[in-house]
């Protein structure tokens, strides 16, 4: 099975470890991520300003490209997922007929309502199925206590995304349980990490991340998974500063969910990109016998 795939800007550079493992894991699980022939940045954050059509052109251009390959588009980055899905909804919102015509006339390409923007996790759960994933496991993640951090962009606005319960999401927890790991619950699963406020006020973003990390540490988890490169940055790289400012702060490794998926499916070495982290996850993984060394 082939799925049109939109990687987005960050997955080619800072978030290679989110992308690489996902592509290889897909092959093992029997589907292929077929990258769009041409694509551009989605804008990284959805603009809700009703007349801000310039911000809609980027994401819609990607959707139009995807349409040439099929009726669905798969993404991995939570931000791309959020933006592309909401831009599609914007086009077909009641009362937006004129705006839709204007945007599509501008792009000079055919497009219609029959398009589903999907997250990789939705493909895993609904198309592949947890049982099939279980059957392909090479290394059971037995004994690894994982906190799933969803953040905002996968969950809200819940009515539009319909990804999972916005107050009590389970999708990544279920994936971890099926890979043999122990999912650890904590109350700030869907709390914002501060996101792009980072560049306006780093201290505020730092506090948001610290609240989440404190909650995870108190829950007894040994590591965290996420699907958003900005969440990853805020809760991984920022631990350095949080640690400097808060003596006694316990550092915890932050993975992309695709890295643990890949690990369980038997991926090894460079492809896991375990060096691409601020808090080194290798000691934990070797202690659990999941990697050598």
């Amino acid at each position: 099975m082939k799925y049109p795939y939109y990687p987005g800007c960050t997955l080619y550079t800072k978030a290679k470890n989110l992308d690489q493992c996902a592509r290889r894991s897909a092959e093992i699980l029997g589907f292929e991520l077929q990258e769009l022939e041409t694509w551009n940045c989605c804008g990284a954050i959805y603009s809700t300003v009703t007349d801000d059509l310039a911000a809609q052109v980027g994401p819609i251009r990607n959707l139009v490209q995807a349409k040439k390959m099929g009726d669905s588009l798969v993404t991995l980055c939570a931000a791309c997922y959020n933006v592309l899905l909401r831009s599609h909804n914007f086009l077909f919102a009641p009362g937006n007929e004129k705006t839709r015509k204007r945007l599509l006339d501008f792009l000079e390409e055919p497009y219609d309502e029959n398009m589903r923007v999907r997250h990789y996790l939705e493909v895993l759960k609904h198309d592949i199925g947890w049982d099939n994933i279980k059957n392909k496991i090479k290394k059971n993640l037995n004994g690894l206590k994982v906190a799933s951090y969803y953040g905002c962009l996968l969950l809200r606005p819940a009515g539009e995304l319909k990804f999972d319960d916005p107050e009590n999401p389970r999708m990544m927890d279920d994936l971890m349980a099926n890979l043999g790991a122990e999912p650890i619950d904590f109350p700030f699963k869907g709390e914002c990490c501060g996101g792009y406020v980072l560049i306006n006020d780093q201290d505020v973003a730092l506090k948001c991340s610290k609240t989440i990390l404190d909650s995870i540490n108190a829950s007894g988890a040994e590591c965290v998974i996420t699907s958003c490169p900005l969440c990853q940055y805020n809760i991984d790289n920022q631990q350095k500063l949080i640690g400097e400012r808060n003596p006694g702060f316990k550092k915890i490794p932050i993975f992309y969910f695709t890295q643990l998926l890949g690990l369980a499916l038997g991926l090894e070495g460079e492809i896991l990109a375990l060096d691409n982290h601020c808090v080194d996850p290798k000691p934990l993984l070797s202690q659990k016998g999941l990697i050598n060394g």
Partner: protein
């Protein structure tokens, strides 16, 4: 006085149009502020900002620092019992300021360390929200 009032009505209409939200639907329960992850640093907090708009204090809200801390995480709108999405209102407020050519963040003042370190997603999203 009457003239001032008409002006503020006009701008409230514009904010409602740009955000798609009905500002007078808010009955001040405070659920938005209770859930807001940045409320600790926000001034005014979401429910206060909406109340100020209801009272016509538009300029005070536009001049405030609070609107620039919204991370668009959407907890407020998801939990609002009256269907008011403050994230959309603050997006509209910021657009009004940015369209008057006032940047919140000057790209060349961002620290080199952050530029080297953070993912481009942070800058693209940040420029969308803080640079006109």
């Amino acid at each position: 006085m009457l003239e001032e009032r008409n002006q503020s009505n006009e701008i409230i209409n514009l904010i409602e149009e740009l955000s798609g939200q009905k500002i007078f639907n808010c009955f001040q329960c405070g659920a938005c502020t209770a859930g807001c992850p940045v409320a600790f640093a926000m001034d005014p907090v979401p429910s206060q900002a909406i109340r100020m708009l209801q009272l016509g204090m538009v300029q005070e809200v536009l001049d405030s620092s609070g609107i620039w801390l919204c991370a668009a995480c959407n907890v407020c709108g998801t939990r609002c019992p009256r269907g008011v999405d403050y994230a959309k209102i603050s997006d509209a407020l910021r657009a009004l300021v940015l369209r008057s050519k006032k940047n919140r963040v000057e790209p060349d003042k961002i620290s080199k360390a952050l530029i080297y370190d953070a993912p481009q997603q942070a800058f693209i999203a940040g420029f969308r929200k803080f640079v006109g």
